[in-house]
């Protein structure tokens, strides 16, 4: 009985959470310009999207490209910077460690708008013209703390003697780093990278304030401008549906794999 209500509760919440997404997905299969009016089944919007023949605004594809490019570059730099930083922080002690951890927490606590406005003021103050570089720098700023937090636990779990064992067996410090330390940290670096990548993909506010006036658009800012203009480009519907599906499949695969690994470990 309790089980029934528990399940029911979860399902009601899930249906509510997913209703808008399903709504978009359903209406991605009709041609109507306005969301909500059904004009018969059609994959026309998908074809438009995939061939790049937009009815109205062709810069949607450019926005998608920008979004992915910025996310990839920002995630790569964040992973590098964050991993090096995590190793450093792990080896710090006492008050210094606390201070750096505190600094690392600030970008995570700050709401997007504060990060965005403060970086905007920085670039204005330094007379740096805003564009790709400033957006990427801004994204690195709010992504790196998450990489640090993904790598640090791996360092803590690691047997502290492993690095010394490598030295003991004749590895120079840099050999020990590449042959032992990096392979050990790789899972943390990978999840840090994925986290940074998706944070960057999702971002709206920070990009909004740091993209300048050169007409640089990511998907978020594109949608924002588009929506303020009134109508939504109909091709956004199939795009959202596709993104939604890709993320769903990715997450399910990652988690099923983790699940299986966990069960294997338990069965041992």
């Amino acid at each position: 009985m309790g089980k029934f209500f528990a399940r029911l509760y979860l399902w009601v919440l899930l249906i509510l959470l997913y209703a808008p997404l399903v709504f978009i997905a359903v209406f991605s299969f009709t041609e109507s310009k306005v969301l909500g009016s059904w004009e018969g089944f059609s994959t026309h919007l998908y074809r438009n999207l995939l061939t790049g023949q937009m009815q109205g605004n062709a810069s949607l594809l450019a926005a998608v490209e920008n979004t992915v490019l910025i996310a990839l570059v920002a995630a790569a730099f964040s992973t590098l910077l964050g991993t090096v930083a995590a190793i450093g922080i792990h080896n710090l002690k006492g008050r210094k460690k606390k201070a750096v951890s505190f600094l690392n927490n600030i970008p995570m606590i700050n709401p997007d708008i504060i990060t965005g406005v403060s970086l905007f003021l920085l670039f204005v103050f330094l007379h740096i013209s805003q564009g790709y570089v400033t957006v990427i720098l801004a994204h690195i700023t709010f992504c790196t703390p998450y990489v640090v937090l993904s790598v640090l636990p791996k360092l803590q779990q690691m047997n502290p003697n492993i690095y010394e064992a490598a030295l003991d067996l004749g590895a120079t410090p840099s050999q020990a780093l590449w042959k032992v330390l990096v392979p050990e940290l790789r899972p943390g670096m990978v999840s840090g990278f994925i986290l940074a990548f998706t944070m960057s993909l999702d971002d709206f506010a920070v990009t909004f304030f740091t993209r300048g006036t050169i007409g640089l658009d990511t998907l978020s800012t594109y949608i924002y401008t588009d929506a303020r203009k009134g109508g939504l480009t109909p091709e956004l519907r199939p795009l959202m549906t596709l993104i939604f599906l890709v993320i769903l499949i990715l997450l399910v695969i990652i988690n099923l794999r983790q699940d299986r690994l966990q069960k294997q470990n338990e069965n041992r």
Partner: protein, 458 residues
Amino acid sequence: MDKIIEIKNLSKSFGDKKVLEDINLYIRRGEFLTLLGPSGCGKTTLLRMIAGFLQPDEGSILMEGKELAGIPPHERPLNTVFQRYALFPHLDVYDNIAFGLKLKKVPEDEIEKRVRRVLKLVAMSDYEDRDVDTLSGGQQQRIAIARAIVNQPKVLLLDEPLAALDLKMRKDMQTELKEMHKKLGITFIYVTHDQEEALTLSDTIVVLNEGRIQQIGTPVDIYNEPVNSFVADFIGESNILNGTMIRDRRVAFMGHEFDCVDEGFGEDVPVDVVVRPEDIYFTTEESKTQFTAKVKSCTFKGVHYEMFVDTDTGNELMIQDYDAYPVDSTVRLYIDPDDIQVMKKERTCNTLYGTVKDEETVTLLGADFPLKSGFEAGTEVKVEVPFEAVDLLDNLDDGVLDGEVHFILYKGDHYHLTIKTDAGDFLWVDTNDIWDKGDLVGIRLIADKGIKISRKDG
């Protein structure tokens, strides 16, 4: 004598804390040497300095006559087996063992031959493709040893390698380690806090405490002739008692006089006496009887019985014997002169230095104690405080100074405690109260219990 490693005047501090002080030690080629001591005694620090993970503050470590300081760990001709194995989780068994050889660019076929050989030596031949985290603790231990010895080090360092194994496994591995040492013929330096393991395995034992070497010797020497009460207490079970050396070969303790074999202490000198529990014998003959006692408890321990008795003079003794004696029965006991180990007392009272603050107060160990000295204010004084004159209090606020119970020695009819003050100074206390290690105590001095104050220079 062929010394492979020589350690001279070695000292090391972490911050303000001295972890090793003036260590002098040599290690013979091919021997199995154990660094033995309680946790925090500095044994692992010493091992890590030999391995090169820590640099000494003072002193030197010589290997075959060559200074090791400045040589980074990866260039030292020795290898380490780490406490929790430290196998590389991302490599399989074969690649773990081949790690060092690959770095040295040993040809592939040679690597294969050598890896196979050590795997056979540690009886893990079929495991070369296994992931290390699928292995049991004991198996990981063998791989860790194989990974170290495949590099043919001149010295193998082992840092509590068996500490993570269960008892049965530990016993098996002890035997195997001993055999491996014989087969390989290289020098083993072994760190452990387990005295039994040390006695079983070693050619030489170095007992460490508080960063200092207490005693170096063979297992038999250390067991039979501990040089001080710490070693006696740490190695095996023992009865440690206060005694007086009456003259050569005659010692008094527990209110009785005994013949012994020790000489050269002088006459009427206070000493510590150690008697091992298996060296106290039961007898029925009156002529042999040295003292009587009443059995308080009797517990079966597998091979022998362990009994606690109260002697006729009110001391408590632990006795081990193959026969059980009923509780509450009165028994006759004797001790052979050979089995009485007499040790010089490290100290007979606390000697402290301080200054007179005013008529009623003396400043000692950074605190003001109410003591009438009879000297002028500002005089530097030496204060001798008998062990009984230190009073320990539950309530920290009642004491003049705070401290922590650091070490406990039972002396048959009282406890001899080592107290570490907050400032890191030591005080020694005799008491009948029961304290536990780590208890926080307030410290007071009882003025009328024989505290002697004199001018520092006088």
